[in-house]
Symmetry: C2
Subunit: 299 residues, 2 copies
């Protein structure tokens, strides 16, 4: 199972949820010791009893003090707060610090202010599951999925190589890019979709106030288009509020496309409408084929 040469003496995973637990499982054979840091006592107990980690603590300082690799697997705002206010003084020099927060600019900026000697790099694996919690941990969660790495002012060539080794150990596919570029791209494929899903559900909810039957007729199309609106509000609020500018840019670009579609519809220009929709459909069909092949091959 072990791939690549990534080895760490003492790995600390901060945040034992689905993402952190899965990281610990996937890196099991690459670390001599794994410590989990988690405020929730049940999650700590579950992780230790199921050998996801060797030990667990609710004390950040204690959890990371002996580590030579630290992964921050918490919500975006928590990561940012830890990096800005606390973790710098807890870490040993030469420690690799990586996070898996969903937006990167603010976190990478905060990482850039850590003490020299900390090897800090931003990370964002493009994976997940419908379910959450450490009990859903899955050592293959990262396998074949993109893992974005964003340099900070504390990223040296050595940092980069260690982080790439870690990504390889997860069997994930590394993408290296600046934090701003990352945030722009995920605004398009994650944050804009969430906003559209929420605005759609809000629209149907308004309709439902006049005519509740709308909920009873809703079927598979609405199910898919409304799924993202069911995501955790706190988590998504954090993500949006740390990526306002890129999200606003994407919203503006989206509005142009929507207005074009609407104009063709209202002017009853069926020909033009089909000429808009055909390449759009093609783009989706091409993408889903590659996406599903990637999943099949566990690429």
């Amino acid at each position: 199972m072990s791939s690549g040469g990534f080895k760490t003496r003492h790995l600390a995973v901060v945040g034992l949820g689905l993402m952190g637990g899965s990281l610990a499982l996937a890196l099991r054979e690459h670390a001599d010791t794994i410590t989990g840091v988690e405020l929730n006592a049940e999650a700590r107990q579950y992780a230790v009893e199921n050998k996801i980690v060797d030990a667990a603590t609710d004390d950040l300082r204690e959890g990371v003090a002996q580590a030579d690799t630290v992964i921050l697997a918490a919500p975006v705002r928590s990561i940012q707060a830890m990096v800005e206010r606390r973790i710098g003084s807890y870490l040993r020099s030469n420690t690799l610090l990586i996070d898996i927060g969903s937006t990167k600019r603010d976190i990478c900026e905060a990482m850039g202010k850590l003490p020299v000697g900390i090897h800090a790099i931003g990370g964002h694996p493009m994976t997940g599951k419908e379910v959450s919690g450490v009990e859903s941990s899955d050592k293959n969660l990262y396998r074949g999925r993109p893992f974005v790495l964003c340099p900070t002012r504390r990223t040296t060539p050595a940092t980069r190589l260690r982080a790439l080794g870690l990504v390889q150990a997860l069997a994930a596919v590394p993408f290296e890019m600046e934090a701003d570029r990352h945030d722009h791209l995920v605004a398009a494929i994650s944050h804009l979709p969430y906003i559209l899903s929420s605005a759609l559900v809000a629209t149907v909810a308004k309709e439902g106030q006049n005519d509740p039957t709308v909920w009873e007729l809703a079927a598979g199309g609405f199910r898919d288009m409304s799924r993202l609106a069911g995501q955790d509000v706190q988590m998504m609020g954090d993500i949006l509020s740390t990526n306002t500018q890129a999200v606003a840019t994407l919203l503006a670009l989206f509005r142009v496309q929507l207005a074009m579609l609407e104009a063709m519809l209202i002017s009853r220009d069926d020909q033009q409408l089909a000429e808009f929709l055909r390449p759009t459909r093609e783009a989706r069909v091409n993408w889903i084929q590659k996406y599903e092949n990637g999943h099949k091959n566990g690429k």
Copy 2:
């Protein structure tokens, strides 16, 4: 398996695709004879060989001439054309004519001009599958799913009862409403979602021209939000162009919700944003629970 008292001597199903084939299978025990009308020779052959229908023809007149129940299971525009131009003179008096087109106003209006004596009523089952074609036919496709019935000027109380019997025979859940109300509701839950999905894919495609990596990072959220954009362009174009007004109304309502979200985001009003997103999330969570329970119970 047989439910309700629906009985027909000779059922004609016009259009042997997924929907029509599934109708024929589900009504097998309720009809003495089933004839399929279909232009595609392979689909006809498949349907006959697999006993989905007793006989099949590419001639509409021949197919429906002896029928006492006729179901039009073709794309919206084809149904409309058949009703407006041809079928009236082919049908026997007292025949039940029902369609399953996705928009109802134009079709029901056309049905209202059929000869007196035709029992015509509009229908729209809210069901489907990822796959299409008669070879995907499934006798349980309609089970537990909503089936909307819309009256026309050729709908008598007897028409209504026969149509309700047919819906019951499918084990579907009948909803009776005016065509305009139907078209407004499906604009909210089907047509608006399709437009949003297409505009999203078009936005990402624009981004992809500058930075193709956007396609490589796209994951599960984008997959769900882009699925509808992959639907058949001709079919969706027909649907949109026969429901322009309702779709335009829903687009206007959607834009209001989107603008509210955007304003909260840009003004960085996290509190207000959460107060918008929380009931939206709740509405979705409540809906999906009922929807999935309905499916589980095959209600």
